[in-house]
Symmetry: C2
Subunit: 345 residues, 2 copies
């Protein structure tokens, strides 16, 4: 298999992002950064409709910030955790934009950015979401059941992130900040299954996939030191430790520059979320509300954003199968806007 | 929204295809064309494992026919109908090829070919599947229940199709035939929801999406007469009639050149499949085993392959929601191999 990374065929910038989050996320360390932090219901009468509404809101916010109109987008790449990705299809049916459905579990944000950057479109969007209550209903128990959670379990983030991408330099003028987040390289991940079958320990199931993708990236001639931050999707506390250990055993020390969206979004001391956050929305809102904003200001220069996903369903777990993991890598750089055409500033 | 169609950035050819089908499909009009027609179990002890095994077999067949090795592919685009697309993630975990998960319901075959052709990869694969028994278990009733099916219902095809795509002219020598099927244009579809909420009439839910995509295609300056065949994914008997009527009301008469994979795969007189076949595997095996073979021989020159999907899940139906549809268009032309470099023949 080729380990070479892929450079998008056109320079691709993330013009804007919209983030929508729930109550518990609002109480976390990043709570003040989200565009909207609602009451988890978002005015709807089922959790599934609430999650779909979050995607609709997130894309609306991102569009509004970009200054672009719906009919200027050529495609939207979207997916989520719910069976048949209905949060995306119902939530985004409000937009008349060609729709390309994805399934990458919690790696969907990275998968969407990756495919959007390769697609060659002038302008497109990547959207994803998760909702604690719709995920609990589907994957574990009805909320009322109050099932016990092991220490390694993660808490599904209620959140949706939407990103507007453009390959047109003239669009950069709309970015609020001196730097334009640019997708400079991508590396899609392989399916990695190391035999973990404990659905209460997704971090352990996904960490080997993250290690695999990062190892392939480093083998392609990159060093961990090239990046200011290597941020994984949502390995949580348990999975993050496994990842750094696995990579160290291969000779790559990322410990000084590794961060994890699942660890960033909740305060472990006060949130009762055990090993941290998870869900498609987790890495999406952390990237949208925190990391990209730091890049636009210039306080973060170059990151490896590694979305991680567990590619199972409840039936597979009930049938005793192990959990295949995947991790997609997207390298994002803060490019100084002043280096582009004079009409930009 | 832009209605312009998209030309792949590189000339992209379908080198080979593998098709795996079940017993009922073997008894249908195309029964002799499939590479493998098994006993529906494919040696596995659950229907879910059987479906995953079909994807593994289909990709293995396609690879073998292409003359390429696993490690020469840069990516595989795959998805299926089952919750969280586990047929793809489990079935294709056998291959160490970067994996990009898709969800497009029964439009997945077209979505995979579309994204593969835009991705700019030298070589990649598109794979999908469905299985009558895993779909029945998930979407309707356990098989033992023997639920009654209305006349508009379609029968989920047990089948998997895999396609190897290449943008390298030197690979064309491996194609068996004088013509190379080439993806010349694509048009991703928008989500279209016309309020159909009857899960026993997917054809009616998907037909407006197919009409929408084809109308956008014709509005972009194309005429139905440019194509030898306009073949929809799996609208079945009911949906096909709705599609041709809808387009006629817009001034486009496709009736003389329209075909539908859902109508082609079963004999309505003897198969008891009511309105025809459906499922991700339906259009995939018809394209792989029938249409592409006709193109390679030169008996079919230029087709519009329009994959159609219903983007719902069982929970959405139980909550009384309507069914959003989608249709992705892929134009495929039989390009004479003799027009390429002399080293090809």
């Amino acid at each position: 298999m080729k380990n070479s990374t892929i450079t998008p065929p056109r320079r691709t910038f993330i013009l804007s992002a919209g983030s929508v989050a729930g109550q518990k996320e609002k109480q976390g360390p990043l709570g003040n950064l989200f565009d909207i932090a609602g009451d988890d219901r978002f005015g709807k009468d089922t959790w599934e409709k609430s999650e779909a509404e979050m995607q609709r809101l997130a894309l609306g916010l991102a569009l509004s910030k970009s200054g672009l109109k719906e009919d200027e987008l050529e495609a939207m790449f979207a997916g989520d955790l719910i069976n048949q990705c209905i949060s995306s299809s119902y939530g985004l049916s409000a937009y008349r934009i060609p729709f390309l459905g994805l399934f990458g579990a919690c790696s969907t944000c990275a998968e969407g950015l990756l495919l959007a950057s390769l697609s060659g479109f002038d302008r497109c969007a990547a959207v994803t979401s998760s909702h604690f209550c719709s995920a609990e209903r589907q994957f574990r128990f009805p909320l009322e059941y109050g099932g016990q959670r092991p220490p390694t379990s993660q808490w599904t983030v209620t959140g949706s992130g939407a990103f507007i991408l453009s390959a047109l330099e003239r669009d950069l003028s709309g970015i609020r900040g001196d730097f334009a987040p640019e997708i400079t390289e991508v590396l899609p991940g392989c399916i990695v299954d190391r035999g973990i079958s404990d659905a209460g320990n997704m971090g352990a199931a996904m960490a080997p996939a993250a290690a695999d993708t990062l190892e392939r990236y480093f083998q392609a001639g990159h060093a961990p030191e090239e990046s200011d931050l290597i941020v994984t999707g949502d390995l949580g506390i348990e999975g993050s430790e496994i990842l750094t250990d696995l990579l160290l055993s291969k000779g790559y020390d990322i410990s000084s520059r590794h961060a994890d969206c699942g660890k960033m979004i909740f305060d472990p001391a006060s949130s009762d979320t055990h090993a941290g956050g998870s869900g498609c929305g987790c890495s999406a809102v952390v990237l949208a509300a925190d990391l990209l904003e730091s890049m636009k200001k210039g306080s973060l220069g170059d990151i490896l954003f590694v979305g991680t996903g567990a590619l199972m369903n409840t039936l597979a777990i009930n049938q005793g199968r192990s959990i295949p993991g995947i991790a997609h890598l997207v390298r994002i750089r803060a490019s100084a806007k002043k280096h582009f055409g004079g009409d930009l500033l």
